[in-house]
Symmetry: C2
Subunit: 280 residues, 2 copies
DNA sequence: TTGCTCCTCACGTCACGTGAGGTGGC
DNA sequence: TTGCTCCTCACGTCACGTGAGGTGGC
């Protein structure tokens, strides 16, 4: 039965590097049917002439159209729809897809860079210059005491509302908070007054609620939460500033630095406190 | 039961913009289980502390890891595996994916450009200059008479073997053939002596079996297969060359120009014959 | 007869989504 | 009581892939 004009299913499959299952599937859903089916054996016979249709189908598949979309497109084309218009539409979608991938790559690059920097030893206070000014996402919150019973949950909710303003592709971020230095010195209790996304990781365009962290010299202190209670670290930084009579801003930035996976099972982030001081 | 440390499933879902079904699914497959399940009601209670795990899972999902891969990665990380190494590996894969998308876009651009050019009127012979030389995929074949009963099938098979040497992403191509001018003039029959991919569309790096088509002046003739038999077009071109006493190459290139969708139902390609002539 | 291709069910895959039908706390 | 959330099956989705069991031509 197979001859010049009538090709069996295996022949067609090998001509286009697809499987016979694919062709049977296309037949089943009515997307691409053989010209002839032997009613006794059920054998499918395709003609060379109809293969051109198959080529279009396979090409649209490479462009990741669904079979339903392809079906609709083929019908539309037979009605005279413009092939180029469809291609140009898909081109724009492919471009958007590439931008999404690029954003993911940017995020990865920032994370990898961060984990390269992270292992610096905790415990000592350093004076470091930050320049230029940093832009970061920031939101003021009603003071939140770390000793509050619903502290963690409220922090999660604030974070969620802060993240709501940035594109969902920016999943991995480094979360931080701000604390009032005077407030801590006067009460001895640790109260968050704002939340932020670490400038080291946040690469997006500025949406609302960004704030500019001024350039300048900062006293910084790193500690690990499994070794040191935050209150101790804040106390150490506070005493350092008093002893050396530094004039300091009131705002202490608390940034998470550690994104190694160790922090999954234990809450063991490497955290850095930063407060701007005046050296004059 | 829900309090600071124990969050119900809906709360967790809303914090991360996912559905409760997703969390139930992760529980079911053992990827991420609530800390506590009330044995009477079956209610799931999650702790804030364990949400960090979920964040990693959701981040890896954005990077399009499968749930099985994520499960394996989480296990590996608990054994001390390097998070950055995984990210860098994925980064390379994302880069490759972007290149694939770019190739698709290149193909689309070439197709769209082609369809913009295509509508030129068939029927008249033009003298046009082609410069610079064109590189195209070419394969010599044993002479194939268009009148042969298995002509179409053999052409498909030759094409398949020619396409085997280029990357599969290049699905849409413009297929062509070569014919010997003297052969046609002497026998009056149309015999293909080689097959080729149209230089207008083939943008890939040169694999084996490419050939350089010289720059220069070409006599060209367009015709539509539904209006004109190929033999007539070849005859017209042949007579033109004889009448005007052009010295011509022996090789006539036959290129498909039409990639509009009309050619799906009917075999109605716009075809162009090209033969290099000497104007001196 | 052997080996190859062809056929038709029917079920599996992947990461959930979608009802159906029922329960628990404010 | 109403409205909301929670629960467990069970089945659907998408584009095929994978046997199971059987047939047809060289």
């Amino acid at each position: 039965m197979e001859n010049d004009t009538h090709l069996m299913i295996g022949k067609v499959a090998s001509l286009y590097d697809i499987t016979v299952q694919t062709l049977r599937h296309y037949d089943k859903i009515g997307l691409f049917r053989p010209e002839i089916i032997n009613p006794e054996t059920g054998y499918r016979y395709y003609t060379v002439a109809q293969l051109r249709q198959l080529e279009y189908i396979l090409f649209l598949r490479k462009l990741e159209f669904s079979l339903t979309e392809i079906q609709e497109a083929m019908d539309a084309f037979r009605q005279g729809a413009d092939f180029s218009a469809l291609l140009m539409q898909r081109d724009r979608e492919l471009e958007a897809q590439m931008q999404k991938l690029q954003k993911l790559r940017d995020t990865i690059a920032a994370l990898v860079e961060m984990s390269d920097e992270a292992p610096a030893a905790p415990g000592d206070i350093c004076i470091r210059e930050f320049t230029p000014p940093r832009t970061l996402l920031f939101q003021k919150i009603s003071p939140l005491n770390v000793a509050d019973p619903d502290f963690s949950l409220r922090l999660m909710e604030y974070r969620k509302s802060l993240l709501g303003s940035i594109p969902p592709i920016q999943t991995q971020y480094s979360f931080g908070a701000t604390v009032s230095l005077r407030g801590f010195q006067e009460t001895g209790t640790l109260c968050y007054t704002g939340i932020l996304l670490d400038p080291g990781l946040y690469k997006g365009d500025a949406p609302e609620s960004t704030v500019l962290i001024p350039a300048g010299f900062y006293a910084t202190l790193r500690f690990r939460r499994e070794d040191t209670r935050p209150e101790e670290a804040y106390g150490q930084l506070s005493r350092f500033l008093l002893e050396h009579r530094f004039r300091a801003d009131d705002t202490i930035l608390e940034c998470a630095l550690d994104h190694s996976f160790s922090s999954i099972s234990r809450l063991s982030e490497l955290t850095e406190l930063q407060v701007r001081i005046s050296l004059t």
